[in-house]
Symmetry: C2
Subunit: 210 residues, 2 copies
């Protein structure tokens, strides 16, 4: 083959990748449910920093799986994360992915209230019946609004995936979620993103029913 490349079947690539990741993690271990999420993030970004920066509230993955299997919706703040979440795996349990960022009514309301579209999107998400997982890969203001609504008692997230990426207010907004009395999975520090938000969702979805 070209350049010494041996073609590996698509279904085997993920298996081999996970073996490589496990080997390079050395002796590091997590509870099985968390390990699957940590490794999927590392796999998604080829970045072992996720072994150090991911923080899980007690039983977060277990609770998230239960929510998914009870038909939870996933609300996300970016169309990229929405594109990356395995919607078939979620639909199997009755859930749907929602991203309200491109809705014109969201833009109008945000402008009128002088807040970000991401905050309005979280408010829309809070209005969805049944359990809701909030997967935030971009906007610190989404996490800040969720925190406020939790304190007001106007939202009861089944899980907050708090993984915005960046340099302004990102670290602080994630630290805020670490103090919230709800299940969370947070990537501390600057790193994260839509790809990580989707990877965490998929890492949960692929464990459901097992």
């Amino acid at each position: 083959m070209l350049n010494g490349i041996t073609i590996v079947k698509p279904e085997e690539i993920e298996k081999r990748s996970m073996e490589i990741i496990t080997a390079e993690l050395g002796g590091r271990t997590w509870p099985e449910e968390e390990a699957l999420v940590v490794k999927r993030c590392i796999h998604t970004a080829a970045d072992f920093d996720y072994a150090d920066n991911l923080v899980f509230s007690e039983g977060a993955v277990k609770l998230a799986k239960e929510a998914v299997m009870a038909g939870a919706s996933i609300v996300t703040d970016t169309s990229m994360a929405a594109a990356g979440i395995n919607k078939k795996a979620l639909a199997r349990w009755g859930g749907r992915v929602h991203c309200f960022m491109a809705d014109e009514s969201v833009a109008a309301e945000a402008k009128e209230k002088g807040v970000t579209r991401a905050s309005i999107c979280m408010e829309r998400g809070a209005g969805i019946p049944g359990p809701v997982i909030f997967a935030v890969g971009n906007a610190p203001t989404a996490l800040i609004r969720l925190y406020e609504m939790i304190r007001e008692g106007t939202v009861h997230p089944a899980l907050i995936i708090g993984v915005p990426v960046g340099f302004v207010n990102v670290v602080e907004s994630k630290e805020l979620i670490l103090t919230a009395p709800v299940p969370y999975i947070v990537a501390r520090g600057r790193k994260g993103g839509s790809n990580i938000a989707a990877a965490i969702c998929n890492g949960i979805l692929y464990q459901c029913g097992r």
Copy 2:
């Protein structure tokens, strides 16, 4: 404000982020057109490794801008990258984003030929009239097929963005593109992804017309 967070207007966040990135890069410099792409990748992943791993063929960004302004299409191997590329900015010059990965006919042809869907997608991309930028954020086999087609003379990419992420054949497929006689932007090593593919596209698009 909560937790010492001062809300920053959305339009200022990117400006401040870029200032922070520039400061943390210290004295490192690139030609202006490349710097804008490097910094956008760092911004997207909060990962300064992109300062070291991005490789540009001679004049790649300049050539890519010319292609976009001549109406180039962008072909990508993931729906996440397609979601992340600024389609309005591309449409301004007449171009469209194509991702054929979910087409049933692509799946059928891939199965029949015993190749990956990503390879077939690149073949479909080669059939698009006018200049085409190939943005590969996931599949090493997409880069391998592009390399083969370049050698066969059946594709003449305006640019290859070679940034698949992962642990199996990823490094090798990117090294292959570095030997191809076409314009390229490649993230050497394991890192990359759909988010980086989209960031590079947007880093080019936001320079067009300037």
